[in-house]
């Protein structure tokens, strides 16, 4: 549905480009998240799709229409693109009621009043605000404003919905609740969504695919499961979830020489720069108990044990001096200083290649 | 315009020019009635001008006439220059100060008139281009509550007495002194001005608020104009005025512009303004009378006094004198 090809964007007067050679293809009905730290270019990319920024080079098409192409000197203005957008600041117009805010896109298209009213009511019901239709916009809470913004974006039934960190201004509880509602809504309506966020938990929960960005470049693209369980770059491993990175000095078939010793890998991997393992994948056994099955066992002792409700966070200091964060079940009993055995299951060791150059 | 039309127009113009010299007043009147309205550029407020026009129309009911108020001679002169440069003609009759008329004459924008033919006395018209219509006459005014009759100065020497320090007011322009130089010589006038500055006069943008200030008691004496002292006096303010031994003044002249739309009508107007009837009507309406006509109140007011004014051809020198004297007068502030 949305095709971005070799997109470059340098703001006037800026020293370096904000978007560097991004290429992405988003299928119809897909929920794709642009994920990355602040300044990585995700919002710039989204705004380029919206037409709110003019890229320096590349091309963008929405559906069958080319909306931007520097080679063809084509730049369709925002209002003519088949998109709707939800902003971080909600951008609810204070001088209108909820109903007027939501009907605005229909007013632009000169939709007859009766039809407009019907669709506004429909879409407000979808977001659960049906009885607020005549409320003044200035009298809404943050969450309500967010829903109005979403309703407004839905009412026109465009092909694509663009969302720029829409939940980041809500408090934690509300955010969790709205996340799933949002995804449900979009799936029900069948819109293609491009979602921008820096919150990786959100990205994991909502997306069909995640596009990981850093310093203007696309680092990795994949499903949440793929990116979480099998990232291919160090950035990917550490940004999405936590990871312990173990540098690899030499590779020999499916064995890797690392700083913590020789490790058995699940398979042969050429060009290995390092391996990573998720804290929850690290198996920690008290040293005195008989060893469970598993290769890659390393001795160490605990330097800290923190109980955090759902799990326990352990910090293990290995023989080599290397410290590792591990996560274990809440029911296990550990004491700081205790000697332990750490097992790094080969199938949980994620091979990482060199990061692409910025 | 193409050649034949141009030729015809020029011939007609020549014919008209020669013919006008020979026309008598009656002929002028009938020509004027057929032409578009006479436009008169002059500086009196519209209410006053209305009265003058009413008197003129009573005498010449079929000559249409319109008055445009242009405040200040400079504005009038500039407007005329702009209009002639842009569209070739300006108001038919222009009334302003000597320097303004002289400036316009220098640019060739004024029409030469045979004054005899339209019965304008030679004494009133110093040259073929302008005739006197009225005058701004300098007088001394005083507040009757603050100044006893016995103290009131009757000569310039008495005015310059230091006992009047801080109690006298003047126009911000030192034009009175510049005109005094015409009969007293520049050196003496300059010394008089120095002494005047020394008694710290209060300066006013125009002589009308000056007279009002005398009436209100803000200042005790004022060197202003006859016509601008009339309003508070007539309204009952405690103010009186008389002419001093030397009377500087500015004669207001009227002229006819070149290529005016209604030259005949303009001549009739000038003829009327120079007559006793017209001059008195003008004085009654505006307060400014023609000092050359003995029956005006203005002329009677200054009877027997020494008048002092530079003739129009000396406008250039007068201008320079004004510049120097104005600068001197401005130093009143530095003295504080």
């Amino acid at each position: 549905m949305v095709k971005i090809e070799n997109l470059w964007l340098t703001y006037p007067g800026a020293a370096a480009p904000s978007v560097k050679d991004i290429s992405l293809e988003i299928k119809a009905g897909e929920f794709l998240t642009l994920l990355g730290p602040s300044g990585c270019g995700k919002t710039s990319t989204l705004r380029s799709v919206a037409g709110l920024e003019t890229p320096t080079a590349g091309s963008i098409s929405i559906g069958d229409t080319v909306v931007f192409s520097d080679k063809q000197a084509c730049n369709v203005p925002t209002h003519a693109r088949d998109i709707a957008m939800v902003f971080q600041s909600y951008a609810i117009w204070p001088h209108m009621t909820v109903g007027q805010n939501v009907s605005f896109p229909l007013d632009v298209a000169r939709t007859p009043r009766a039809e407009s009213r019907k669709r506004v009511a429909e879409v407000l019901a979808m977001v659960g605000l049906a009885d607020l239709i005549d409320r003044s916009a200035t009298q809404l809470s943050g969450g309500q404003q967010q829903r109005v913004a979403i309703a407004r974006a839905l009412v026109r039934r465009t092909s694509v919905m663009l969302l720029d960190e829409p939940l980041s201004n809500l408090d934690a509880k509300l955010r969790e609740q709205m996340r799933l509602e949002l995804r449900d809504l979009l799936k029900r309506v069948g819109m293609t969504a491009i979602y921008v966020t820096h919150d990786q938990e959100e990205a994991l929960m909502l997306s069909d695919r995640i596009a990981l960005m850093h310093a203007g470049k696309l680092i990795e693209v994949g499903t949440p499961r793929e990116l979480y369980l099998a990232p291919t770059t160090e950035f990917g491993a550490t940004f999405l979830g936590a990871a312990e990175i173990i540098a690899v000095t030499r590779c020999d078939g499916d064995m890797a020489e690392t700083e913590v010793g020789t490790l058995q890998l699940a398979r042969t991997v050429p060009n290995l720069a390092s391996v990573a393992i998720r804290p929850e994948a690290i198996v920690v056994e008290p040293a005195r108990e008989p060893a469970a099955v598993g290769s890659n066992r390393i001795a160490g002792h605990l330097t800290s044990v923190v109980f955090s409700g759902r799990q326990q966070q352990l910090v293990v200091e290995l023989a080599s001096g290397r410290k590792m964060n591990a996560q274990v079940d809440a029911m296990r009993n550990f004491t700081p200083g205790e000697a332990v055995q750490v097992v790094l299951p080969p199938e949980r060791l994620m091979p990482l290649y060199k990061d692409p150059t910025p | 315009m193409n050649m034949p039309i141009r030729l015809a127009t020029t011939l007609l113009a020549c014919a008209a020019a020669t013919a006008s010299h020979a026309q008598s007043l009656t002929e002028l009147i009938s020509t004027a009635e057929k032409n578009p309205a006479v436009t008169w550029y002059e500086s009196s407020p519209s209410e006053q001008a209305d009265k003058v026009l009413a008197a003129f129309t009573a005498k010449y009911p079929n000559i249409k006439i319109r008055h445009t108020r242009l405040v200040g001679g400079n504005a009038l002169a500039v407007r005329s220059v702009q209009e002639i440069q842009a569209r070739g003609y300006t108001g038919d009759v222009l009334t302003g100060g000597a320097d303004h008329m002289w400036q316009l004459k220098g640019r060739g924008y004024l029409e030469a008139v045979d004054w005899d033919a339209i019965k304008v006395p030679k004494a009133m018209a110093p040259n073929p281009y302008m005739t006197s219509t009225a005058a701004s006459v300098y007088v001394l005014s005083w507040n009757t509550k603050n100044v006893k009759d016995s103290e009131v100065p009757t000569t310039w020497e008495q005015v310059l007495d230091p006992k009047w320090t801080g109690r006298i007011g003047s126009w911000v322009r030192a034009a009175a002194f510049a005109q005094l130089a015409a009969t007293q010589g520049e050196e003496k006038a300059s010394k008089m001005l120095d002494r005047f500055v020394a008694i710290k006069p209060m300066l006013f943008k125009s002589t009308f608020p000056l007279a009002q200030a005398v009436g209100a008691g803000e200042i005790d004496l004022g060197i202003g104009f006859y016509h601008s002292t009339l309003p508070p006096l007539n309204a009952g303010a405690p103010i009186k005025m008389h002419a001093l031994d030397l009377v500087p003044m500015h004669i207001i002249y009227s002229a006819i512009s070149k290529d005016a739309r209604n030259i005949a009508g303009a001549k009739v107007l000038l003829s009327w303004l120079s007559s006793e009837e017209g001059a008195l009507a003008y004085e009654n309406a505006t307060g400014r009378g023609n000092p050359m006509l003995a029956t005006t109140k203005t002329a009677q007011f200054i009877k027997g006094k020494t008048l002092s004014e530079w003739p129009p051809e000396k406008s250039g020198e007068l201008g320079e004198l004004n510049e120097r004297y104005n600068k001197k007068l401005e130093t009143v502030g530095a003295a504080k």
């Binding site: 709110l52 209002h79 632009v108 298209a109 | 400079n74 842009a86 209100a216 508070p232 309204a235």
Partner: protein, 568 residues
């Protein structure tokens, strides 16, 4: 590679309009400064005027005086206007509607009437206020002397406060309290809050108002002319007026006026550049977001009476006192200070004369429609200029911004002179000598103020509000109509009223452009005052204020009813 900056139709249209309105008078001004006779169409070129003006040591003394005066009024007006704006918009001051009307009212008083009123009150010899103080405290001489630099600054400040109030009040009204709350919860106290939050956030509005005030202070004539000239205190404008009306030689010395004007052009360009540099990071000043805040009002509590007293004091000094004197003067047969012995002489003749004056009726109608039309046109242009400069990405924005600010540097006499030339030459546009030429003049002259006001307001509007409209399918024109315009309406309405008031009282241009039947009320008023009838002039002034009160009250009532006004 797509060219990033192109000329958009809006920018082209605005540039053409501004060239026509502004660049032509500017060009005539520049040309006149190099013509020996001072008239642009005369022959010859020369630097004689620059020599005469800038080679005269007295000129620099004038500039020094004027600088002190202008700075004094600027600081004074910014302070008083700022405090008043803050009190009305950010605190729980009672009777806000009345306060807004009270503060806006002085706008309609022609400054020379204001000055005249204060001269009657505080002249050292027989000012009414001085007499009162002498009797109260048993003094020998009146303690107040209005004929001084301090007096000039005082009265001019009073006259300028409404303009400052207009710009700053809309800036205050649109401030998000979250910004202040963030500061307060970080432990900041008031002086710090003012210095680190208020002042920086309000910087565009302050700078817009300040730049305008400074230039006005340099070029304004009425107050310094009435209160300074009598004691020989001259400023640059006195020189300009002198050159226009009193210069001997038979014509106005436009050449020298133009030469002086050139300095202000440069000064103005500098100020405009500074404003642009400061506001280049426009996002810093955004305060109207789509988050729908309710501007929090500070509770005055114990100091409420003090605040009310302050507003009343301003009202007393700026409106009641001069209006009282005007009323008195309109009832006396000749100019006289307030005293018991004048009481029996009071008469209604002046007022009666007004109503039987047919010319005044015509002048009133002319003033009303010229004011309304000019205000509407110039406000609309200002909105487009502000939008083009701040929102459009087309080329020529800087030029549009500069051109719209420049007319301020052109003295009113020069604009009048320029327009006469233009419309005498373009005689197929039948505007010369009619009231239409006044409309054009006023649109040109007041564009400077209204474009600053519009700019300072639009800067506060979060761009996402418009982006949301665009992503909802709204074309730029539709977005302006339904989003930008309604949100900017309070500020635009304020600017509209300001223009109406200023047109009603404007004098120098109306005088210069006088034709057969385009006399305005202000010209009529001046005609009375300069023709020896100050009492009738005062009467006109009284009715002018009354009429303006009605308009201002109506404006206040209308804007209070607006639904989005956060009235909680």
């Amino acid at each position: 590679m797509i060219q990033r900056q192109r000329f958009t139709p809006l920018n082209i249209g605005l540039l053409l309009l501004l060239f026509y309105l502004v660049a032509i008078p500017l060009a005539l001004l520049l040309v006149a400064s190099f013509k020996p006779s001072g008239l642009p169409l005369d022959p010859g070129w020369g630097l004689v005027h620059f020599r005469d003006v800038y080679g005269d040591p007295g000129f620099y003394g004038l500039v020094g005086n004027t600088l002190v005066f202008a700075l004094g009024c600027t600081v004074g007006a910014l302070t008083v206007g700022g405090v008043l704006a803050w009190l009305v918009e950010r605190t729980d001051l009672p009777y806000k509607g009345a306060a807004r009307v009270a503060i806006a009212l002085p706008m309609v008083l022609p400054p020379f009437l204001l000055a005249m009123g204060w001269a009657l009150l505080a002249s050292p010899r027989n000012g009414s206020l001085n007499e009162l103080l002498k009797n109260l405290f048993g003094l020998d001489t009146g303690p107040l002397n209005i004929y001084s630099l301090g007096g000039m600054v005082f009265v001019e400040t009073l006259a300028l406060v409404p303009s400052v109030y207009l710009i700053l009040s809309s800036a205050f009204r649109n401030m998000d309290p979250a910004l202040e709350e963030a500061a307060m919860t970080s432990g900041a106290r008031w002086p710090q809050m003012i210095r680190r939050i208020f002042l920086p956030m309000l910087a565009p509005a302050l700078l817009a108002a300040g730049a305008y005030l400074l230039i006005v202070g340099f070029l304004v004539f009425d107050v310094p002319g009435t209160l300074g000239m009598p004691v020989g205190l001259f400023v640059v404008s006195s020189r300009i007026v002198y050159l226009a009306t009193d210069q001997s030689g038979g014509t106005a010395a436009y050449g020298q006026i133009a030469a002086i004007g050139v300095t202000f052009l440069i000064l103005l360009l500098g100020l405009a550049w500074g404003y642009r540099k400061l506001t280049a990071q426009a996002s810093r000043f955004v305060t109207i977001t789509g988050k729908g805040f309710r501007p929090r009002e500070l509770r005055l509590g114990a100091i409420t009476p003090v605040a009310i007293a302050l507003v009343l004091l301003y009202f007393l000094l700026a409106v009641i006192a001069p209006l009282g004197l005007l009323l008195w003067t309109s009832l006396t047969p000749y100019l006289a200070p307030m005293s018991w012995d004048m009481l029996p002489k009071l008469t209604l003749d002046n007022h009666i004369a007004l109503f039987s004056n047919r010319r005044l009726g015509a002048a009133s109608w002319t003033s009303i429609w010229v004011a309304a039309l000019s205000a509407t046109i110039v406000t609309a242009i200002s909105l487009l200029v502000a939008w083009s400069v701040l929102r459009s990405k087309g080329r020529g924005r800087m030029l549009i911004d500069t051109l719209s600010f420049m007319p301020l540097a052109i003295p009113g006499t020069m604009i009048g002179m320029a327009l006469i030339y233009v419309y005498l030459t373009l005689s197929f546009i039948p505007v010369y000598g009619t009231a239409w030429i006044l409309v054009i003049a006023y649109v040109t002259v007041y564009l400077s103020f209204t474009s600053r006001a519009a700019n300072a307001t639009l800067i506060q509007l979060h761009p996402e509000l418009e982006e949301a409209a665009r992503t909802s399918g709204g074309t730029p024109a539709y977005t302006i109509r339904r989003i930008v315009l309604p949100l900017m309406m309070p500020a635009l309405a304020g600017a509209w009223i300001w223009v109406v008031a200023h047109v009603m009282r404007e004098l120098s241009t109306a005088l210069l452009l006088q034709g057969d039947d385009n006399t305005t009320v202000a010209v009529q008023l001046f005609s009375y005052w300069s023709g020896g009838q100050p009492n009738k002039a005062a009467a006109v002034g009284v009715w002018l204020v009354l009429a303006m009160t009605v308009v201002t009250v109506a404006w206040q009532w209308l804007s209070a009813r607006r639904p989005q006004a956060p009235a909680q």
